[in-house]
């Protein structure tokens, strides 16, 4: 399976998180997966300005050609995307959200009705399954975790897929790698 890890950790000094992802990458390689990790903090990605240029000016592409192009290209050629983030103030990081907002171009502006609710039409035939891996600080509770799961389930619904994995970096890395491999 082709796996893309979007590392949303803004702080290179958070070595525990970085080491966990490095170990996870190694374990998933060992299980015969092709894994690529993108450290979002190393990329030049500006925020989405909601101009709809990616739908009407350069359909499918953003009018600002920055490193988000690489993320979008990888995203549509992957079987599974693991969004990995420390939890800041009860939520995944702004860095990860900045990238997620820029994914809008891989959807089509047309609207489909899903159970009488509007959602965007697919631009590509297939979209990767999604997973969420969090580093949980001590001061957050199960309600925060549930909100994030709900939010990423909605994100996945918008992006024509499902949230098929949820994990915490407190879990054994081999166990997490096996769970992802079984998806």
């Amino acid at each position: 399976m082709k796996i893309l890890i979007l590392n949303g950790n803004p702080d290179p000094n958070n070595t525990l998180f970085e080491e966990y992802l490095a170990d996870l990458t190694e374990e998933m390689h060992a299980l015969d997966n092709e894994v690529r990790q993108i450290k979002l903090r190393d990329l030049n990605i500006r925020y989405c300005t909601g101009c709809w240029g990616c739908w009407v000016k350069t359909p499918g592409k953003c009018v600002f050609p920055d490193d988000s192009q690489e993320v979008c290209r990888e995203y549509v050629h992957t079987d599974f995307v693991l969004m990995a983030s420390p939890v800041k103030m009860g939520f995944t990081t702004a860095l990860l959200k900045k990238t997620q907002d820029r994914l809008i171009r891989i959807l089509h502006p047309y609207v489909d009705l899903v159970e009488n609710e509007c959602h965007h039409h697919r631009r590509y035939d297939e979209y990767p399954k999604n997973g969420l891996l969090l580093e949980r600080p001590q001061n957050i509770d199960d309600e925060d975790i549930q909100i994030m799961k709900d939010m990423y389930s909605r994100f996945s619904l918008n992006f024509k897929t499902e949230l098929t994995f949820f994990g915490l970096t407190a879990q054994d890395v081999k166990e997490v790698a096996r769970a992802i491999d079984n998806i």
Partner: protein, 225 residues
């Protein structure tokens, strides 16, 4: 004097539905004798000085009204960045009332109430704001903020939203909270399943011709190879 601060969280900046909705509410509060101020988050994130200016403004306000669009069923990046900055200050924000007013493109405000309102609520309780109510607006693009129009300028289409905002202004000016509310900008007859299909079809035609006008093909797949 009670001081209300409007933070506009649209990445579009001034020409946005978040601006038109927020300004309408703030104008009423102003007429009711509150002291009012508006800051656009896009500008305040430009550098550290402007960011601390925004955090100071939050410190000095009694009521913080945040207007923002919905991006992927939650906050756009610039709003999360602002929430992180407010939380990082770790000031005592206990007496301040916080009101998120969120708009989304799709007709159903349920896209907003599904999770985004809970995230705002959690944020408010984490930093110590007092939750004073929220408003979810479905069909926000119908309000034409992107073209820089005010709610008064667009006539009937803004009627339902204006009514709710007026009620919210009354509650805030009387030092009250209001319940979490939702409103659909689109007229009720357009909300029927059949009419939704008609709208979706018309919307297709619009996107397709706009892309074509710019020399593009609306369903291009640039990342296929």
């Amino acid at each position: 004097m009670t001081h209300a601060l409007l933070l506009v969280g649209s990445p579009r900046g001034k020409k946005s539905t978040s601006t038109s909705v927020g300004s309408y509410l703030l104008n009423i509060l102003d007429k009711k004798g509150l002291e009012t101020d508006t800051l656009w988050i896009t500008r305040q994130l430009a550098d550290d000085e402007k960011l601390s200016q925004m955090l100071n403004a939050v410190d000095h306000a009694d009521i913080i009204i945040l207007t923002a669009p919905l991006y992927d069923d939650c906050q756009p990046y610039i709003v999360i960045r602002t929430m992180e900055a407010i939380a990082a200050q770790r000031k005592n924000l206990g007496y301040k009332r916080f009101i998120p007013i969120i708009n989304c493109a799709f007709q159903e405000p349920e896209h907003i109430t599904a999770v985004a309102i809970s995230i705002y609520h959690k944020f408010a309780t984490t930093v110590g704001f007092k939750w004073a109510g929220s408003l979810a607006i479905g069909g926000g693009e119908m309000l034409q903020g992107k073209s820089g129009k005010t709610l008064d300028e667009i006539g009937k289409m803004a009627r339902k939203v204006k009514k709710v905002l007026e009620r919210i202004a009354d509650a805030l000016a009387a030092d009250n909270s209001f319940p979490d509310e939702s409103v659909r900008a689109v007229p009720d007859f357009l909300y029927k399943p059949f009419m939704k299909k008609v709208l979706a079809w018309m919307n297709k035609y619009d996107w397709k011709s706009r892309a074509k006008k710019n020399g593009g093909v609306v369903d291009a797949r640039p990342y296929s190879q």
